[in-house]
């Protein structure tokens, strides 16, 4: 299986981040992992990469409930990045929320590929890699 070059986790829960990183290592998911505690830190980094004409991460795992800038706000700001630059960046929402209103709202964003309910399992990541390979 082809592993992903770079993935990025945006979540304020350190235990979740720890667990996910560990699973990623186990399944040999990617070469690089970037972690941001909230949306604002993440969007600032993405913008920095853009200005520096560096490659954006291939995959983003985005939590919804975060301080400072939550997942929704991150999506709104991410959409403002010119399409040709953000094209090819895959976004997965990873949340504990089973609120149907959140799930419906996610569907309104074209840039989001899917919604994964926490916790992330090794199976989830393997499926993901298969999908990306196709």
């Amino acid at each position: 299986m082809n592993k992903i070059h770079s993935a990025c986790i945006i979540d304020d829960d350190p235990i979740f981040v720890y667990g996910t990183k560990r699973i990623m290592k186990d399944v040999d998911f990617c070469e690089e992992i970037h972690v941001f505690e909230n949306g604002l830190d993440a969007i600032e980094e993405l913008n920095r990469l853009r200005v520096a004409k560096e490659k954006l991460p291939k995959l983003i795992f985005l939590d919804l409930n975060m301080p400072i800038m939550n997942g929704w706000e991150f999506l709104d700001d991410f959409q403002k990045i010119p399409r040709h630059i953000r094209e090819g960046v895959i976004i997965y929402i990873i949340s504990s929320s089973i609120d149907p209103r959140d799930i419906e709202r996610v569907k309104t964003y074209d840039i989001v590929s899917d919604y994964i309910l926490k916790p992330v399992t090794p199976k989830d990541l393997q499926n993901l890699l298969e999908e990306l390979a196709e």
Partner: protein
């Protein structure tokens, strides 16, 4: 002797007589003649006739000469001018006398003064001329017709026109007039019946003219010899008469149709005469009315009689209009209302003075008037005593009349409310609706409208009403005024608002329960997934260091879970524990407690606190909540203060109707309202990278203040500061 006797006889003769010699000198003259001539007999005797009458015509001189030859001549109508200049008309009789047998000695002249007779004839002619009376004559034997000049003038023919009989008739207007004259003439000829008639002729110039024609037959030897008569222009008189007849007819038609009775009362004879209409009006027989004035007096109702007679006497005495109303009782006992107007007239050429009047039946009018008065009274009764507020409103929107109920609803006295307009007391949000409907009503697009609107009570609170406005038209169709009916539905509306508020609370609570459920599930799930994940790792982990690390994380995670559950407990208790726990809380006291408990914190941060809360402000609240809210806001201000400036917190309180409003402003970091407006009070929402930020304080604050039926609002600018506005209910015992 004989000569003297003769003189004596002549002188004393009772006629005008004179004796002349052959030279026409007076030998003798009667005293009467001398007197007529205005001369003494000595002045006359011996003088020549022509000396006395110098104006004597040549013709007369010739007659004298002729008579001196021994003849007798008598002639009439000689105009003589007397020495005094007076004109005399004389009849002369002239004879000669013989001095000796066969020898003329002179003349005897007798003259008879016919001036008076002659004058009468002249006057008669003049009179005829003035009265436009012409004469005519038809000789029945020769069928010749003679017209005098006036007759010719009336026919508008020339003076030398000689009419034939047929022509004379053909001047009468064809049809009735011509047939009538032919018939009259024939009858006159056959029976000798004279006539006097008024007919229409058409003159030679084509003008129509009314004439009076009188004709009478003269007989000779019992045979009709001629018809003579007069012919008089009566055109203007006749036309006036016809005109008068027409007017009279019209007047009669008018009075009859309008059932107006006309009467006149002769003041001298005290006789009252009435026309047919008046009798009809009083429903009295023409015959059975007796002395009409007394009968009239009797018919007037006792209660009105003295007054009416007094009014009539006054009108007669002062020559003013008699204008009154009275009731009469008819034979069948029914009462009629009569209106009578009269005026005293004095004819210019008469001593006769009459009061002429008209009277008519106004019963129906009176009944309508009475009904109207009754209706007005009943409307007024309804208006004044209705439990519904009512007002009459002028076209300019001003009150014309208001009732007690309206005043009671709005809390004003009548005098106070009359000073205001409906605009003054209408809630500004309802003003346009009401006004636009009123405009439609004024324009005639609608006849009435009904709206629910709000007024302000004198004390300031809102009065809910259902307002119905109806327009009232004048007789000419124009607008007169509006009638407003105001049903006070405040109590109903308040109940409705309460129900609505309860519904809203229920809906809000449902909403927040749903949110809460999701928050709970989300937060608990976060922890549970972490716990299960960590335990999963721990089972398979062999590395000792890593195992310790995992156990530490497990411990942290279960502590977080505990904390989350305690937060949730706190939130639930806020929602549950308020009912029945509200009490009067002196807000300044609570604030002083809070200040004391954070005194150290404030000092450490060098914060300035400006507090303006009036001591008398007492709110309806749970003391612990108020303390918690103030404490939370104050610590937030300290936590999120700007490093660029010294912290200043302004706390002010004011009263608005039944609310006490506390504003809480700082000059801290501020929150980006554009981004966070909707989640400032949300659970676990944090906006600043602060180690103590948990996103729970404002959530609890909002829950607490809402639990006390208050509300909280926020306004903020990044790097300027934040203002929270707290609405509490003023405490009512």
């Amino acid at each position: 002797m004989q000569k003297e006797l003769l003189h004596l006889f002549i002188e004393d003769s009772p006629i005008e007589i004179g004796v002349f010699d052959t030279n026409m000198n007076f030998i003798s003259c009667s005293k009467l003649w001398c007197k007529k001539l205005g001369l003494a007999s000595e002045e006359v005797i011996g003088k020549s006739y022509y000396q006395i009458f110098p104006e004597t015509t040549e013709e007369i001189r010739k007659i004298h000469e002729y008579c001196l030859k021994g003849s007798f001549i008598s002639f009439e109508g000689e105009k003589t001018i007397l020495p005094s200049g007076k004109i005399q008309w004389l009849n002369f009789k002239i004879n000669s006398w013989e001095k000796e047998k066969g020898k003329v000695g002179g003349l005897i002249i007798v003259c008879e003064d016919i001036s008076n007779k002659r004058n009468e004839d002249e006057y008669r002619l003049k009179a005829q001329k003035v009265a436009n009376i012409g004469g005519w004559e038809v000789n029945l034997i020769t069928n010749e017709v003679y017209w005098t000049n006036i007759t010719k003038e009336l026919h508008e023919v020339s003076e030398n026109y000689v009419p034939a009989l047929e022509e004379a008739v053909s001047f009468y207007k064809e049809g009735y007039h011509r047939e009538k004259i032919v018939a009259l003439v024939s009858e006159a000829i056959s029976d000798g019946t004279p006539w006097d008639t008024e007919l229409l002729i058409v003159t030679a110039k084509g003008a129509e003219k009314w004439v009076r024609v009188i004709g009478k037959v003269e007989y000779v030897n019992n045979k009709a010899a001629k018809i003579t008569g007069t012919f008089q222009d009566i055109d203007s008189k006749k036309k006036a008469e016809i005109n008068y007849q027409e007017i009279l007819l019209r007047h009669n038609v008018a009075t009859k149709t309008a059932s107006i009775g006309v009467w006149d009362y002769d003041l001298a004879s005290q006789e009252l005469s009435c026309d047919e209409n008046t009798y009809l009006l009083y429903e009295a027989d023409l015959s059975g009315f007796g002395n009409t004035y007394d009968a009239w007096k009797r018919s007037v109702l006792q209660e009105d009689r003295d007054r009416v007679i007094k009014e009539m006497d006054f009108a007669i005495q002062h020559r003013v209009e008699f204008n009154t109303e009275f009731r009469i009782r008819l034979k069948n006992g029914r009462i009629k209302y009569i209106k009578s107007i009269a005026q005293v007239h004095k004819y210019p050429d008469s001593i006769e003075t009459k009061m002429i009047g008209a009277n008519w039946d106004i019963t129906e009018f009176k009944h309508t008037e009475l009904k109207l008065i009754k209706r007005k009274e009943s409307f007024l009764g309804v208006f004044n005593n209705s439990s519904v507020g009512m007002a009459l409103i002028g076209l300019d929107g001003s009150w014309l009349k208001i009732n007690k109920s309206l005043c009671a609803s709005l809390g004003y006295t009548k005098e106070e409310l009359m000073e205001l307009t409906f605009q003054d007391i209408t809630h500004p949000d309802d003003y346009i609706t009401d006004l636009s409907l009123l405009d439609k009503l004024t324009l005639g697009e609608i006849d009435q409208y009904q709206i629910e609107k709000r007024y302000f009570h004198k004390k300031g609170h809102i009065v809910y009403v259902i307002l119905s406005v109806t327009k009232v038209s004048k007789i000419d169709g124009g607008l007169s005024h509006f009638i407003s009916q105001v049903v006070d539905i405040t109590s109903r509306k308040e109940a409705e608002n309460k129900v609505r508020a309860v519904l809203k609370i229920t809906a809000d609570q449902n909403e927040s329960l749903t949110n809460f459920a999701h928050i709970v599930s989300h937060n608990l799930r976060s922890h549970s997934t972490n716990l299960s994940m960590l335990t999963g790792f721990l089972i398979n982990e062999t590395d000792k260091e890593e195992r310790e690390n995992l156990i530490r994380m497990l411990n942290d995670s279960s502590e977080s879970l505990d904390e989350t559950i305690s937060h949730l407990n706190e939130v639930v208790s806020v929602k549950l524990n308020v009912l029945g726990k509200l009490e009067g809380v002196k807000i300044i006291d609570v604030f002083d407690n809070v200040r004391k408990s954070v005194a150290a914190l404030l000092k450490e941060n060098d914060a300035i606190l400006n507090v303006q809360i009036p001591k008398e402000y007492i709110i309806s609240a749970v003391p612990a909540y108020v303390e918690s809210i103030l404490l939370n806001l104050l610590t937030n201000s300290v936590k999120y203060c700007s490093s660029k400036r010294r912290l200043v917190v302004d706390i002010k309180a004011r009263r608005e109707r039944d609310k006490i409003i506390v504003s809480f402003s700082d000059n801290g970091l501020g929150i980006d309202m554009k981004r966070h407006q909707n989640k400032i009070f949300g659970m676990y929402k944090t906006f600043h990278k602060h180690k103590d930020s948990k996103g729970i304080g404002l959530f609890i604050t909002k829950s607490q203040i809402e639990a006390m039926n208050g509300k909280i609002e926020v306004d903020s600018s990044v790097d300027v500061g934040t203002t929270f506005t707290l609405y509490f209910n003023s405490y009512k015992k």
